[in-house]
């Protein structure tokens, strides 16, 4: 299953058509998780228009969930933020507690009149943004905008699609990333050597698996994932995706150490955790509760400040 990636948005009207984000669905429900994101930057008469979007689609048995977020950031000629708006169709994972009007107000207070390229220092963590999705989205958009300016480009688009599909041996994940005219695909073939063990909160507390990571069709490295407690599972996943991220950075010409946030790699550890747990989730209510436990860790664990939906 593939969502259609928008390779060239120039044919759209000057009013950016947001519907492709909110209307994109995953018709093939054998794909457990789909995550679609991107950033479009264009010079305008008044400065720059930056549109950033992100949508996750989950199919956990009878529980289907879509989390779309789209932000439009208007910049002046010098790259200072003139204003930011969040599409009225934005949805968060916590329902009405994800108050996007409040988030829009807060972001404007934080960013208006400031250089968009300084987003990392203006908003150093998701707790300040009060929304993990917005933090990822705007961090990625600011990073891509900065990259374009450094390359002296007046416009550009980057898009990324991740799909995660369980199979009899484990799972397959594919991550296709298109930045300007370059495209890369990273594939993760995970095979359980032992079935993962989950604790009473359905968090994976033990794993023994091999992962073959292929980059543009060639095997890049093989990782043995072994861990005997939840924290180490999360750590092992982050380290594996960190290695992939290094490959991507080199391919796309990001040679500095500077954090490049326009990537799904930062979210993959959490998405894999959800996938590891899904098999033991029985019943829609049970699934919803267990998914919430995992999201709660991703949002608030390890000393993180919770988002608006989690009381932050």
């Amino acid at each position: 299953m593939k969502l259609e990636l928008r390779r060239d948005l120039k044919e759209l009207d000057t009013d950016f058509d947001h519907s492709f984000v909110f209307d994109a669905h995953s018709p093939d429900r054998s794909t457990l998780i789909t995550r679609y994101r991107g950033t479009d930057v264009r010079k305008s008469d008044a400065g720059w228009n930056v549109v950033a979007w992100q949508k996750s689609v989950y199919h956990f048995g009878d529980l289907n969930r879509e989390v779309p977020v789209l932000a439009v950031v208007l910049l002046d000629e010098d790259g200072l933020v003139r204003g930011l708006s969040l599409d009225e169709n934005c949805l968060g994972s916590q329902g009405k507690r994800c108050d996007f009007r409040q988030l829009q107000i807060g972001m404007n207070e934080l960013l208006k009149g400031k250089p968009f390229s300084d987003f990392n220092s203006l908003c150093p963590n998701a707790g300040v943004a009060r929304c993990l999705h917005l933090f990822e989205l705007l961090g990625g958009a600011a990073g891509f905008f900065t990259e374009l300016r450094q390359r002296d480009l007046a416009e550009g688009i980057e898009q990324e699609l991740v799909t995660i599909t369980p199979n009899d041996d484990g799972l397959v994940a594919e991550n296709t990333h298109i930045i300007l005219d370059q495209e890369s695909t990273t594939r993760y073939d995970l095979r359980y050597l032992q079935p993962p063990k989950r604790n009473d909160r359905d968090l994976t507390e033990s794993i023994d698996a091999t992962v073959v990571v292929s980059y543009n069709g060639d095997t890049a490295f093989t990782e043995r994932l072994t861990a005997e407690q939840f924290q180490d599972v999360y750590a092992a996943l982050n380290l594996m995706f960190g290695k992939s991220y290094q490959l991507e950075k080199k391919f796309f010409g990001f040679h500095s150490r500077r954090r490049v946030r326009f990537t799904n790699c930062t979210a993959l550890a959490g998405l894999f955790l959800l996938t590891f747990s899904h098999e033991s989730m029985m019943g829609a209510i049970s699934r919803a509760i267990r998914i919430e436990m995992i999201l709660h860790f991703i949002q608030t664990g390890e000393g993180r400040t919770g988002c608006i939906g989690f009381g932050g």
Partner: protein
Amino acid sequence: MEEQIRQILAETLDIDPAEITPEKRLIADLGLTSFDLADVVLQAQEEFGVTLPSSFWGEIVTVADVYRVVGEALQS
């Protein structure tokens, strides 16, 4: 070694190295995500030619902890 680690952290976070002091907590104060932490660890491993033990994740909370774990790996 500490200066190099501070440089890695500063460049990754795009902040002034002077802001990185030993008592600062990586996630709560400096705003690293778990993924950023993995990226920093991979860079440190490459910079110093060491492999950090898998138990490091639970041991690293502050910048000083990073100095200590890398220092121990260099000695062993």
